[in-house]
């Protein structure tokens, strides 16, 4: 027999209670795992780079900017590369099948995003070989069951052709995976010249301009230079880092995040109370045995450690179940959710389980510390 087997024997003494507590911990950690996967996933503002700038119209991100701004920014000494995007707001087949698509200049986009999106020279060559070529992110391709070579039609809610059709036809020339598992690959990249030639309004405009500063130039220093450049033009700009831009975007769903955080906090507090109550009940039931163990020479600290160890085992099993189920949920969930279950999520689940075990076990362990052998022996 070892201390470990003593802990396990204590736990299986009341199997139902242990099982219920483990499942309570697991449930809370499943909620935590899924929310963390969502927050650390493709929708996270943390994916935005601090060293890239996003230029939008000062009057609002929905207001387009003249294409000439792109050339003016590219001419600045502090700028290494520049790209622009134009949102198409498209769907495939039916309106609820939303397919995010943006039109870009292929070479410019490659210079700025090529590394992040893992765009290979072969992929770029195929992409630019025809004007109606598009690159599709892996996640979107999986959802739509698209393959390279497929002809697809995307309907835009923003633009129509000169003939009045909102349908734009494309050929898929490549599927990109992104550099990391957290990279958003749930969209389509089309070519600006193709769209610009077909659309009937906002011709020669772009929605956003992405700027990569020259090495040694701080993005924060470059932002006012760009804004000053267009301060007195017909299209004044607002320049911010990509992360700030995404954070502003994410603020739109901040309420949802707040609610999710509140739900998470409440569920964690609930499970903390469950753990504390369960272990306190276990210590209460075993007061006499604890008193006997102290009387026969087991130290106070050793007994408190045994109680804490029981909590650690409960939370450890709960964490393993929680992590496993979270992984399964993320694996079968719609990629559009952008959930990513990576080592960071596992680390956070483990850290939370340790915290729950520590906080949940401390009061029962203190209670075990205080058990007086003389009082318990007298109670018989």
């Amino acid at each position: 027999m070892t201390y470990t087997s003593l802990v396990l024997k204590s736990l299986i003494r009341t199997p139902l209670r242990t099982l219920v507590t483990v499942m309570a911990v697991a449930s809370a950690l499943i909620v935590f795992g899924c929310i963390t996967s969502f927050m650390s996933g493709a929708h996270s503002a943390e994916n935005g780079a601090m060293n890239r700038l996003v230029v939008t119209s000062k009057t609002g991100a929905a207001q387009p900017l003249p294409l000439t701004h792109v050339m003016a920014i590219a001419a600045l000494e502090e700028v290494e590369a520049v790209s622009h995007t134009t949102r198409l707001n498209t769907f495939s087949g039916f309106e609820r099948n939303f397919v995010p698509a943006s039109a870009v200049d292929p070479d410019m986009a490659h210079a700025v995003f090529g590394e992040d999106l893992a765009l290979t020279p072969a992929m770029m060559a195929a992409f630019t070989a025809r004007t109606d070529g598009v690159l599709v992110g892996r996640s979107q391709a999986l959802v739509q069951n698209w393959r390279v070579g497929d002809r697809i039609t995307l309907s835009s809610k923003l633009y129509r052709t000169a003939e009045g059709s909102r349908d734009f036809s494309f050929i898929i020339t490549g599927i990109f995976d992104g550099q990391t598992v957290g990279t958003d690959t749930h969209y389509v990249i089309a070519q600006y010249d193709y769209i610009n030639a077909l659309r009937s309004r906002h011709v020669d405009t772009v929605d956003t301009i992405v700027v990569k500063p020259t090495a040694g130039v701080r993005a924060a220093d470059l932002a006012p230079v760009i804004d000053n450049l267009f301060a007195n033009s017909s299209g004044p700009t607002r320049t911010q880092t990509e992360r700030q831009f995404l954070e502003a975007f994410m603020a739109q769903i901040a309420d949802i995040r707040s609610i999710l955080n509140a739900v998470l906090l409440i569920s964690l507090l609930s499970v903390l109370l469950i753990i504390t109550n369960t272990m306190a009940a276990a210590v209460r039931e075993r007061r006499f045995e604890i008193g006997v163990m102290k009387a026969i020479g087991l130290s106070r600290s050793r007994i408190a450690t045994l109680v804490l160890a029981e909590t650690v085992v409960i939370c450890g099993i709960g964490a393993a179940i929680g992590a496993g189920v979270s992984y399964a949920i993320v694996a079968v969930s719609d990629p559009a959710t952008g959930m990513v279950f990576d080592a960071g999520v596992i680390a956070r689940i483990i850290a939370l389980a340790v915290l729950l075990a520590g906080l949940g076990g401390v009061l029962p362990a203190l209670s075990a510390l205080r058990v007086s052998p003389i009082k318990t022996l007298r109670s018989r």
């Binding site: 204590s10 102290k294 009387a295 020479g297 130290s299």
Partner: protein, 236 residues
């Protein structure tokens, strides 16, 4: 297992002990002085409330005197910290309880092994000690039995095995036969005497039973916290 271990001489000098009951204080002992030699089998008798259990608790180091000194060998129990007392109990003392106080979810062997967990012994060394202890109490074939599957006499044998497995020099027994029938009680008392005679243990036993006390080499009579001559205690 070591035979004839060098036992501490236990001595109480001017020990006072009282308990608070509400606003009043009840004196249990006033200037109690007593000594027990190594290898003795001492029985302590007396009516309820005479201080027998309090005396045992103080000798076990789980209770402290208000004043006076209790020495066990080189250790002054009245001055020791709680940690030192715990260590002293683990190293020098075996406790046998009236109601056995075994952990119900552990087997007999595991209950016996419990005090050994603190020792720097490997698993096989612990198993060997448990085997020897089980053999000494005549339960070699009952190691895998849980307390619920055993009789009162067998449970007390397991209790004694747990007390001796660490090879302590002193066994403190709180009415070890109080919950047993006459036959089982006799077996347990024979076992305790065997521990004294062949293992060299110092045995201090509280009992109400004169037949049990007859196994001791010395009988102390307590009444109202004082040691009294046998006849006076018996008369009351």
């Amino acid at each position: 297992m070591k035979h004839f271990s060098i036992a501490p001489l236990i001595s109480l000098t001017d020990v006072c002990k009282s308990y608070r009951a509400g606003r009043s204080e009840i004196a249990i002992f006033q200037d109690l002085t007593l000594s027990i030699d190594a290898g003795e089998f001492v029985a302590i008798m007396g009516p309820s409330g005479s201080g027998k259990s309090t005396l045992l608790n103080m000798l076990s180091g789980i209770d402290r005197p208000d004043s006076g000194r209790i020495r066990a060998g080189e250790t002054d129990l009245s001055l020791a910290t709680e940690r030192e007392l715990t260590r002293w109990r683990a190293e020098h003392l075996g406790l046998v309880f009236q109601f056995y106080n075994l952990l119900p979810n552990l087997t007999a062997a595991q209950n016996i092994e419990l005090p050994l967990l603190k020792r720097p012994l490997g698993r096989s060394a612990r198993a060997e000690r448990v085997r020897v202890a089980l053999e000494l109490v005549g339960l070699a074939d009952r190691g895998t039995h849980r307390p619920a599957m055993m009789s009162g006499g067998q449970l007390q044998r397991v209790g004694i095995a747990r007390a001796i497995v660490t090879d302590p020099s002193v066994l403190i027994c709180d009415e070890p036969t109080g919950d047993l029938d006459r036959r089982s009680a006799t077996e347990i008392l024979e076992l305790l005497r065997f521990m004294q005679v062949s293992q060299g243990k110092t045995i201090i036993m509280v009992t109400h039973d004169p037949a049990a006390a007859a196994y001791a080499s010395r009988v102390l009579h307590l009444d109202k916290g004082e040691l009294v001559p046998a006849r006076q205690e018996m008369a009351e």
